[in-house]
């Protein structure tokens, strides 16, 4: 009896899958650039050979609530939209979003996790606390994590560490990007790491690990560093 049930369930699954084929899919990729060079941390750290000896060891951030807009109005919204983008994990950088042939001219997304999700208990998937993007001592997601080294840092091993997060006023770090897109199929969102780092004086500021004013200011710099390159 139970077996037949499973077979039926499989058939239903297949039908719904087949149905989905008629819809188009939007591919959204998030890539990290430093001076036009791709920052890929899959096998090793990213090193810039100049006088600053910049080294990037980790770069991970949450992208959530991806929306597509036409003339400033949301026409398509990804459901359950929470993604951990990790510069050391290629497969995390490409997202597939179902589209029912809606046309749009702009993409928006949040950098980080909203306050409601932040107070809703244990989550799974990319939001699982085992992903290393959750603060244990004071509840809340880390929206953005950048770790590396620079000769400019007067710290131990010249290390810098930016863990940006916080969902409560006045230290709410959630920021939204609105980016124009002419492409309807393959959207490439670039995080310009050079632009972000140029907003920080690493000799003076090299460590953020809790929700505070500096975290809010750097989150504003981070959101400005996202762009879509339209042909």
């Amino acid at each position: 009896m139970k077996k037949i049930g499973f077979v039926l369930l499989f058939v239903f699954r297949f039908l719904s899958f087949a149905g989905a084929q008629s819809d188009s899919t939007i591919t959204v990729s998030f890539i990290v650039h430093y001076n036009e060079k791709n920052v890929d941390l899959s096998d090793s750290s990213f090193v810039v050979t100049d006088s600053n000896h910049l080294q990037i060891d980790a770069l991970r951030f949450y992208v959530s609530n991806i929306c597509f807009l036409k003339n400033g109005t949301v026409v398509l919204q990804e459901k359950n939209s929470f993604h951990l983008i990790d510069a050391s994990n290629k497969s995390s950088q490409t997202l597939f979003i179902k589209n029912n042939n809606t046309s749009f001219d702009e993409v928006s997304f949040n950098l980080g996790i909203d306050s409601v999700t932040n107070v809703s208990g244990a989550m799974g998937g990319d939001l699982d606390p085992t992903k290393g993007m959750y603060w244990a001592w004071q509840s809340g997601y880390i929206n953005f994590k950048l770790e590396g080294k620079s000769a400019n840092c007067p710290t131990r091993n010249h290390a810098f560490e930016f863990h940006l997060g916080g969902y409560q006023s006045p230290f709410n770090c959630l920021k939204t990007a609105f980016l124009k897109s002419t492409n309807q199929k393959n959207i490439v969102v670039v995080f310009d790491l050079n632009q972000f780092l140029s907003s920080i004086d690493l000799s003076a500021q090299n460590k953020i690990m809790s929700p505070n004013k500096q975290a809010v200011l750097l989150s504003e710099q981070a959101i400005k560093s996202f762009k879509i390159i339209n042909p």
Binding site: K2, G5, S120, A122, P129, Y134, W137, S139, G140, F171
Partner: protein, 344 residues
Amino acid sequence: MKIKTVLFFCFCFVFFAFQLATEKPFILPKGWPKPTYDFSKNPLNENKIELGRALFYEPMLSRNNIVSCASCHSQYTAFTHVDHALSHGIEDKIGTRNSPALMNLAWQQLFMWDGAVNHLDVQALAPIANPVEMDENISNVVKKLQHTKYYPKLFYKAFGDSVITGEHTLKALSQFMLTLVSHNSKYDSVMRKETVFTAQENNGYLLFKKNCASCHTEPLFTNNEFKSNGPPIDTTLNDYGRYGITKNTKDSLKFKVPSLRNIEFSYPYMHDGRFKKLSEVLKHYATGVMHNQTLSEELKTPIVLNANERVDIIAFLLTLTDRSFLFNPNFSYPKNLFLEPTKD
């Protein structure tokens, strides 16, 4: 078509019957407020509670596989750590606060003395990661559990998936902690009109209602707020409580109002365990309160009680002891899961 529909409904029936068999609805004690915990997101289920109970007593949650939740939250002392002003964790390292008693957690919105934790599900992450408590991290805990013989089976039974995740680990722990409801003290029996207070207890109850109940509000014996109750600051700790979380000077020296249920067993008292006896606590509210900017309104006038009144109020506080909670076999170490059954 018809037969397929029938079969489909049969399948649904079998599936839901299985779910119902293990479902365990949360029982709300009569007259109590609605719980804060959203049970729709983590409905209680016998297998999940049992798994949570195993995890609560699991020393693998710590870096050296020695410290479990129960190390600092022992059932027989209302799930707290007695005899130590400041609780100690891994390798006898001493923390900065007294571990709170665990009970009636479904009615709490914020956890820890300073409200640093915003949901019961994520509460366990704090002691797991704290370098003087368990000094471990949740992803490593998940890996260790996955490599055991029995945990993948228990997770499968609970969640239908033997692949262990942080989410399932934390939700199972919540399930067990949600069952830690203390509502069968003598006080509760009196309220249910099953018994009566002695004259002394009754006088203590009247004094309590007059002097203490605005913060230690019935039936939970806490209003779940953060208050500055005026103990002189301990300069070896410099603990400013809630201020450390909100960075708002209005929250300086505020700590969570603890429940007084099972207070007979949850000594020592205050966030830093500075008082060993209830009489010392009463003395503090009479003559020891230090006036500061954030001091609770209710404490601006000292609570002065005479010797008889002090004895009466303590007699009342002892009616909050709930033996059916302290000795409930469902809350103790799950021997059946970990120990080989003996032949007799």
